[in-house]
Every structure is written in C-alpha cells, then in structure tokens.
Assembly symmetry: C2
DNA sequence: CGTCAGAATGAACACGCGTTCAATTTCCGT
DNA sequence: ACGGAAATTGAACGCGTGTTCATTCTGACG
C-alpha cells in the first residue's frame, strides 16, 4: 500500500489523485512519486462505486468489419480517450436484432453513456434496461419517431439530415442525363436505409423523375454485386444507381465493370453514401454523400459530456448535415 | 433493493445470481423473477472488487480503421462476448508508439487480460505496468525475442508462422516467370513487417532470385500508391510486388493500372498479406498470404481462458500458420 | 502576543457485492 | 420416531475507493 510506504493516511493518497481535493502541493507530489515507484493506480471499479461514474461508454455495433462503422469506432475511441473515457464494445447480430439479453449484460458494467448504432432498437427498450445511463439515439428521419412524449424515456439524439446530400446527388445525376435511377437499399431493419429510400423517392418525384427501381441490398459488397447482375441482365434502361452505402456502391461498380461490361460513369452512373476512406481509392473514385465523421463524433462527445455534467436536464439534440462529395462516378 | 421486495436476505440474492452457490431452486427462481421485474442486475464493479475478476479484456490497437484490425476486433469481440467478457478498446498513436501513460490508464480498469496488436511495445513494459493481467503478445519471428528468461515477465504468446505462406507466394510468382520482385514494407516499427521482409529476402535467396527491391510503405493505400509511382517511373524490370499487407497491395495495383498503364497480373504480379474481406472484391481479386482470423481469435480466447483458469502457470504459447490464397493477381 | 479564518488532516462511513462460518433446516435410512 | 449427514441460511466481514465532519495546523492581521 502506498499510504504505509509514504507514511501518510490512506485519505491523503486519495486526495493526491483527485485534482480538486485540498492537499498540500508538496505532499501530493511526494505521494504521486511514491505511487509511481510502486506502480500504483487508483482502482476504477472501487472509485466508480462511490462516485457513480464508471468512465465507460458502451458502444453497440452490428458489424465492426464494415468500413464505415470501424472508422466511426476509431474516431469515437480516440475522442473518448482524450476525455478520459474508455470504449466498451459490444456486437449485435448481423440482422441488427438487439437482444435484450445483451443490454442487460451491458448494464452490469454500468456505462456512463451508451451509443447504439443499431438503429432498430427502440429507445423505450434501451431506457428501460439501462437505468443510470441516458442512451444516445441516432435519428435519420425528419419526423424522429423517437417518442418525444413527456414522461417518456429520456434519450439524447443525434439527428442526421440526409436530405441535403441526397438532393445534391440526384441533381448531379439528372444534370448529366440520368433519368431512370435505381436505389440499392441497406438492411431492411435499418431505419437509416428506410429513410434514405423514402427521401430518394420524394426527391425524384419533385424533380419530375420516375420512382426509383428498387434493389434489395444489405450493406454488403456481395449482395450488391449479385443484385446488380440480376437487375441489369433482366431490365434495361437504368441510367444510374444510388446505393445506400459506399460498400454497396463498390459491389455495383464491380459487377457493372467486370461482369456486365458496362462503363462507369459513361454507361451507368453510381453514387454511394457515407464517404468511407476507401471511396477515394482509384479503382472506385466514388461520388458519394458524405456523413462527416469528425462532426458526428464530436457531436457524440458533446452529448455525453453535457449529459454527465447535468444528468437531470431535458433531452438534448445535436444535428449534422450531409453533403455530396463529387468524384468520378457521375458524368 | 431486491432483497426487501422478495423478503429474503441480501445474501440469498447474491446466491441466486451465482450458478455454483447453494440455494433452493424454488427460492432462486423466485428471486430471479423479482429481480427481472425490478430490472436488477448485479453490479460488475462491486463484484470485481471481491472476486478479482473484471471480465474485461483490454485491446490495444493503433488503427481501428484498418480493415485487418477491424475484422480482428469484430471476431474477437464476438468470441469474448460468448465467453462472458467485454472488449475494452484503446487506441495508440498511428506510429505504433505505445504510450506508457495509456497502459497506466488502462490498468485502472483492471482488465483480466490484455491483447496488444501494437507489436513494438516490449513485454517488459506491458508486464511492469499491468500487475494482475498477464498480457498476450503476438510473435512473428522464428526467434521470438520476447525474453523467455526465467524470472523475466510472464507473458503468453501467439506465434504466427509467416514462412509457410511466403514460400508458397514466392514459389507461385517464380513459377509464372517473376524474377525481379519488390517488397512493399509496412510501418517500420512493426515487428511483423520487419520479419516479413527478412523472410522474403531469405526465401528469394534460397530460390536463386535476386534480393528484393525495397519500397518503404506504412500499411496505407496512399503511401503504397505513391511509392509504386516513384519506383516504376524510375526503375524498370520489376516483375512482381510482394506487399506487407492487402491494403498496400491495393494501392500498388491501382497505381499500376490507373496511372502507369500496366496490367496486373500480365505485366506485374502482385501478392498481398492478411487476406482481408476486401481481397476478393472483383476490382482487386488479390492473391494473398492468409492469416486465418478465426484460428487466430480462437487461439486468443484459449490463451485468456487457460490463463484465468490457472493464473500461476508458466507461459503459454499458441501457434497459427499462414498459407497462400490464390486468386487472380499472379500468373 | 492573541485571535480567527481558512487550509489541511484523518477517523468513520458507505458504495454493492462474494465469501466464510456458525446456526438452522431438510432429508434419508433405520 | 430418531439420529446424523447434507443442504440451506443469514450475520459479519472485506474488497478499494470518495466523502463527510470534526479536529488540528497554518498564517495573516490587529
């Protein structure tokens, strides 16, 4: 024990490690020096029992492999680490089903906050299972459907405005002559993809274009590849494909180029969604709707810190806006 | 409190949640039912204080974005979750420098085990900072350099045999006529890449081939792209490129095809390392040396469980073997 | 030198749990 | 019905902290 070695009380050691505690500077320095020699660190578990702060942030993700999610986790972990938090990572099943067992399991670790990238879990469930942590919910719709009802569960929100980027994308495609546009969806259960499809349909209608040809994807490369083959072998006249994510767009492009003999963008235009790092790889050079990762992660951190600073305050909302990044797959 | 609601002692509640405890089945069921209604879960922090088990596994990674690492984290998290552990994720700086501050920081969470994918941190440091957890160290060399000295720090090891896959790769390239082979390295500080380069040099010599032309990479696409341009614009006669990782191989291929007008594999052969999910994408269809992710993760979990079952036992070692996956970038 | 406010100190307590141990109950065989 | 072994129970304790509160020390001012 550090206290005995330094000939001080155990309380003094505690104070030495807490910046706001009242202790004589010389004494603090001495204790910290002894602690370092003894390789002592305050036990976070014991500390969290008395402070009620675990300094853990639970992150629930369906698929860490996905470039978009891994890049988000990377940025988030970096940002959290800078603020003194650690990332506690959990995985749901690939179909986005959020097992209530998993939430109960996570609750045991007493995270200070929870971020669920699995959009299909209702905030009601999240709030019911977790007691102390206020979950952060990512909202894609204009109507958020998260149940703002007073007396309802307290949930902070990050709203992603998808309409801006989608409008720019459709305008660009139309400007280069696209008329018959297909939409490759993501996993059906994903609220993000449902909203993307709805917006694409709406924007196309507003611009006097026919409704989108629907392709049933699941965010993966392989499914996008197969769907593209079966669509273009049967149906002609599709000028452009709007994919619900970048990886899906890659699958579309590879099927078009390497199996169907079509050129991108000369024969078929392709637009993706997310702007993952791979989107600028020369083999794809993808024009895509960007969700700014830095902005998004900073918004998460702001929400977490604000909520922890004042746990009782009403629901918080941050908003980020998408925009089109123009590269080489349109026009 | 559950105990009061169910009219039992607090001890009974504890026993109800511990499978090996002695309690009448009917009583346990009743308590668990009441607990569920009250949304009660044993606090892991409090539990870890008395059991000495946190059920946390610290994972230290330089770059979650990298496909290889994200895929490994994904598989590892799934496997750990199945065994009742949670992944505690930490990020080092991109240059692989393992900050001792980070380790001290992590120590506070009291992880049951630590896996460091940052290969340049010496086990001595890892062991000195962490007290309870026995770290797992990934070893790529034939001579492991981890300091097996008795009295040295206790460290479990996962040995990756890289020679097998490298021999197969070189044999295949040579079989298709390659003679002058370049090697694109990874980050200089990475022990994995140092060993890969050493082995490539050795295998080339054994097969009567000239030593490799060295390209200084850092595992990223962009650097690989640039290095390829500067190499092939100056020096002719390079038949093939052996990249230290798949993403680097992608950069090489894109530079060759989209900027230098060379065909792969007709003009230049390319081989990668890792076999990430993207390696089978049609734009690349990369022939690569596979490190089997499932085997690797299972080995990690075996090491963790074995060590926890018997904390005092001598150092454990698991071994996995690489092999070539033949696709379309050679021959 | 005396006084008093503010800073510094340490004893006691609580956080929520698993475990030990002695006391009590249950169960089986006769 | 009885004895004894086995199963079950609950009080007390400790894990390593931060915090409260009463006490002691420090230093400045009159």
């Amino acid at each position: 024990m550090v206290a005995r070695t330094a000939n001080v009380s155990r309380v003094a050691v505690s104070r030495a490690f807490n910046p706001h505690a009242s202790i004589k500077p010389a004494k603090r320095d001495m204790i910290l020096r002894v602690a370092q020699e003894l390789n002592y660190t305050p036990d976070r578990a014991a500390r969290s029992m008395v402070t009620g702060r675990s300094h853990l942030v639970g992150v629930i993700v369906p698929d860490v492999c996905s470039p978009w999610e891994s890049q988000e986790i990377d940025a988030l972990t970096t940002a959290l680490q800078a603020e003194g938090f650690a990332t506690l990572l959990f995985k749901t099943r690939i179909d986005l089903s959020m097992d209530e067992t998993l939430l109960t399991y996570m609750k045991g670790y007493n995270p200070d906050s929870v971020i669920a990238f699995t959009e299909n879990v209702r905030p009601q469930i999240l709030s019911r299972v977790l007691d102390r942590a206020v979950p952060i919910y990512v909202v894609y719709g204009d109507d958020d459907g998260a149940g703002d009802a007073p007396g309802g569960p307290l949930t902070d929100r990050l709203r992603v405005v998808q309409r801006t980027g989608i409008e720019q994308a459709v305008a660009l495609m139309q400007g280069y002559g696209a008329r018959r546009i297909a939409f490759l969806s993501g996993v059906r259960q994903s609220l993000a993809t449902v909203e993307r499809e709805k917006l694409v349909r709406r924007v196309l209608a507003e611009r006097g274009l026919p409704p989108p040809v629907l392709m049933a994807g699941d965010y993966t490369y392989d499914t996008a590849y197969r769907e593209t083959l079966s669509l273009f072998r049967v149906q002609g006249g599709v000028d452009a494909v709007f994919a619900a994510n970048d990886v899906g767009a890659f699958g579309v492009m590879d099927a078009l180029r390497h199996e169907l003999g079509r050129r991108v963008p000369e024969d078929v235009q392709v637009v993706g969604f997310d702007d993952i790092l791979q989107a600028h790889w020369k083999s794809y050079n993808l024009t895509t709707v960007k969700i700014d990762l830095i902005e998004r992660v900073q918004a998460f951190v702001r929400l977490i810190l604000a909520r922890l600073r004042n746990p009782g305050q009403p629901a918080l909302t941050e908003t980020i806006v998408t925009r089109l990044v123009v590269r080489g797959t349109v026009g």
